[in-house]
Structures are given as C-alpha cells and as structure tokens.
Amino acid sequence: MLHIINFRKSYGDISVLAIDELRITPGLYWINGINGSGKSTFLKTLAGILSFDGDITLDESISLKKQSVAYRRFINFAEAEPLFPEFLTGWEMINLFTSAKGAPAGQEQYYIESMQMQRYLHQPIRTYSSGMLKKLSLVLAFIGQPRVILLDEPLITMDKDSLEILYQWISEKHEQEGTCFLLSSHQALADDRLSNARELLVAGQTVSFPD
C-alpha cells in the first residue's frame, strides 16, 4: 500500500528521520515513540505536508512527488492539535473538505450525527473547545474515499464516549472499505477493536517494525 523509498527528512542541518525502505501493507498501525522521536513529522510527511528527500508511493503507482494531487486525494490526515481559520464555521470547513476530497453527497452526516456535533457546527470555530475542534478535525479526516487515514494523537482531548465512537469509525472504515490507519499515540491502543493493530516504532531517527 505505502512504499517509502530512500526517505530522508531533516530540519536544517538536523537529521530527523532516515528510512532506506519501508512497506506498509493495508491494516491498522500504532505509531509508537517517545516525545521528539519524529512521530508527527513522519505522519505529516506521509500526508504530503512536509518536504523530504526520496519518495513515497501509494499502491506502487501513485507517487507523492509525481502525482501529488491524486496522492493527496487518497491520504487523509488529522493533526494532533488542529488549528483552522477561526472565522469559519464547522460547516464551512466540512464543505471545503467535501468538495476538495470529492466526497459522496451526505457522507459527512453519519459522522456528525454519531459524534453529536450538529448543535455547534454552524458557529464560528473560535467558539469551539479543544475537544470540539478535535472532533471536527477527525470528521474531516474521514471525508472522501481515503485509502489511508493518518491520525496524529487522536486520543488526546477526547472524552470517553467520543473515543468509543472514534474506535467504531476506525473499525467500520477499515473492515468495510479496507482503509489503512496509522495512529500515533503515547499509550497503547487499549480498545479490543484495535487490538490487531501492528506497532510501528519511531526511534533512532528511523521507522521500523519492532522484532
């Protein structure tokens, strides 16, 4: 599914990640690593947000560098601490992502209703709490027909009930559409539905499957 080749990411002169080759097959993955190990950098790079040396391909055919538009259509991302223009409403953000990601009409309704977000989506984002903002960013990550969804620290700032719903979304999307998930978290994924998630370790300036 994802093939990372000769990957090098640095900030100025400081090398952060170096991966000679890594294949990520369809499935659920838990990105594990200590603070500052480069988990978010890895996810942002996979999302096509950060520059890097080397290449990343999706299904061996869509290169992030050569077919960047097609690649981004199939890779969705939610930040650990999302920030959106504060004057926009939640609905305006959802409409933007729906049109950009080519989502089927009405797809967002299921996510909005299950997370019970209807009552505040018409309000400007500046009125949202961090939990509400987090939920919005997660809804945006599920919009469209992504092959891979990258969730950076999805468990933080979410209440227990919302976490249950998120686990359900992940398991449904994975089982029904075969969507691949990469979730970064400091805690192990405790829920039974995610128990088959494979660990991907970010340590020593590289990313690998632990032995």
Partner: protein
Amino acid sequence: MLSPLTIVLIKTLGRGFYRAHSGLLLSLFVTFVIYCLFINVLNETHIPADQRIYYNLIFVLAFVSSPLVSLLVFALWLVYTIKCWSHILEALSAPEHLFLFYSSTSLRKFSQLRSWGMLQLYISLPIVGYGLFSVVIGLVFHHNILPLFILIYLCLLTLLSAIIYGWAVNRRMDQHGQSWLLRLMRAWRKPFFSLFLYHIIDQLKLSCIITKVVSLIIILGGRYLFAEQHQDMRLAGFLVLGVSVAHSVLIYEYHRFEHLYMRFARNLPYGRLRLFFYSIGLYSLLLLPEIIWLLATHHLATAMVLGGFMLSFTLLFHSLLYAMALHIRKYLRVVFSLFILTFLMIMYHLLWLLTPVCFLAAVVLFYRNYYQPADTAPD
C-alpha cells in the same frame, strides 16, 4: 531595576511588536535619518554651514514652535499608539500569552500599571526618542512651551495605554466575539482562495487600513508632486512599485495566516498551478482599489501594463516568502533590494521587461518552494 513582570512583558510582547513591525519602522527610520539629518540642502555652495543645520532641523523646529505642526505630529503619534494597542490586545489573546491572565493579575494594580507603562514606553521608543530629541532642540532654540506639552502628551499616551492593557488583562475574557462585518458575511460562500480576505476582516483590519492609506498617499502624493510629469510612464511605474511595496506587510501576514491556520491545505488535492492561480485571484481582489484607480486614470492598454506589473511584483513577494519561510529580516532585505533594483529599471525605461520577469520568477519560486515549510523542531 525592572520588575520581573516588566522583563517578561518586554521579552514577549515588546519584542514581538518590533518583530512584527520592523518593516514599517525600518522604512520610517531610513526616511527620517536620510532626509532629516544627512541630506544636503540644495547646493552646499549656496547656503552657509550654520544655516544648513537650521534647514536640516527645520521640521523639528516647526514641531516645537508651530502649534499646527505639533497637532499634526501628535495625531501621528496617536495613530502609532492605537496601532500598539491593536497589536498588544491581539497578542494577548494568543495561547502563549494566556499565562499573563493568571499570573500578572495577582500583582497590586499599581505594579501592574507600572509594568504595562514600561512596556508601552518600550514599544513607543521611536516616538519617545523623537519626542525627547525635539524637546532638546526646542530648548536649545529657546522654544519652551511646546516641548513641555510634548512631555505631557507622551506621559498621557503611556498612562492611557497602561490602563487599557491593565484593563484587558484583568477583565474576564470573551473569546467568542466576532466582528459585525463577519456576522453580516456569515451566509456568504467563502471560496478557498478568498479565505485570507476574511482573515483580514477578522483580525487585520487596522493593518489593512494603514496599508491602503499609505497606498493612497503614494498615489495622491506622486500625482500632486509630479503633476507636470503625469504623462511619463515611469512616474506611474514608480507609484505602482510603491503601492506593491506598501502591501509587503499584508503579504507577510498572509504567510503567517497560512502557516498558523491553513496547514491542512497542504493535504488537499490541489495542484500547485491551481494554487498559484488562487494567489492571482486573491491579490487581484486585495489590489482591486488600486486597479480601479489605474483604469480610471489611464488608457486601458497603459492601465493593463501597470496593473500587470503591480500584480506580478506583488506575486513575486508572495512567492519569495515560500523560499525564505517566515524570516522577516531576510524578507525585508529582499524587499528593499528588489525595490531599489526595480526602481532603477523603471528609471531606465525597462518597465515592459519587469512584468514577465517578475511573473515568471513568481511562478518558478512558488512551484519550487510551496512544499518547503518553515523549519520547525521535530515533534
């Protein structure tokens, strides 16, 4: 000795103010130093040395001797101070300054007021310095009344600012406020390329107004001062160049907006050429008043040449910022260098060459650097 709160306020809000406004202040400083202190008046053979000093100081002397000029300068200082208020109050709402609401407010009111006053003096150093310079010159030339008013006025501005900042940090925050303009526009569709315009309405009203006033002054001042050369294409070229440079601050603000709030956009399936066309749409709207001025005062062909130059030069600044991230000093150096280079090219009748060159450079820089964001620490 400065109190701990004063030190924190200066290091956070004070230095932040200078970082954000270094472009404007640098241009004012250069103008002041070059024109008011070092410029040779007419020809040195015509004016004796002692009178040359007098002419160099003529504006300062008018300030300390003429109530009308004093009022004009006081009004300018008030505008500067209002700009300070706007910046500090906006900065206070940033998450990194939230600690001030639950730390500084435990101090006695007088201590708070003193620290906020010191902050205001720090960010008012350009006008305080000029004010004190004027007072000294006034006293040397035996003008005693207005210098006294200058000192009182500076103290009042500082006190009023301290009270406003102190009030802002002690009140209970209302984070949900939204400008009435945005409330009116709530139902409007907000196309992706236009989002920065709404951000201007939301948070950058004053910066935008100042930019447009500077732009207007450049246009009107140029037309008035060089009325006899109004047929000369170069004059229009200089004015358009000035207008583009006046917008450099807003262009920088666009990049800050993109860096802070639009990070998600890099994950959207939009090609770089499409994004570049969005930039053309954005800056065409931002420069719409100036484009209307060009169309109203020039033949269509000339207006199109000048409008094309203005837009491509503005786009060049926009694309340059992708190459240098948000390094304001580097950006300002490049803006000044490009301004001088372009000024010389216009002077030598090369305006026709500038439009395609700037446009092509803008496209190439944008395409090469759009996905090269500011270096940040790994997380």
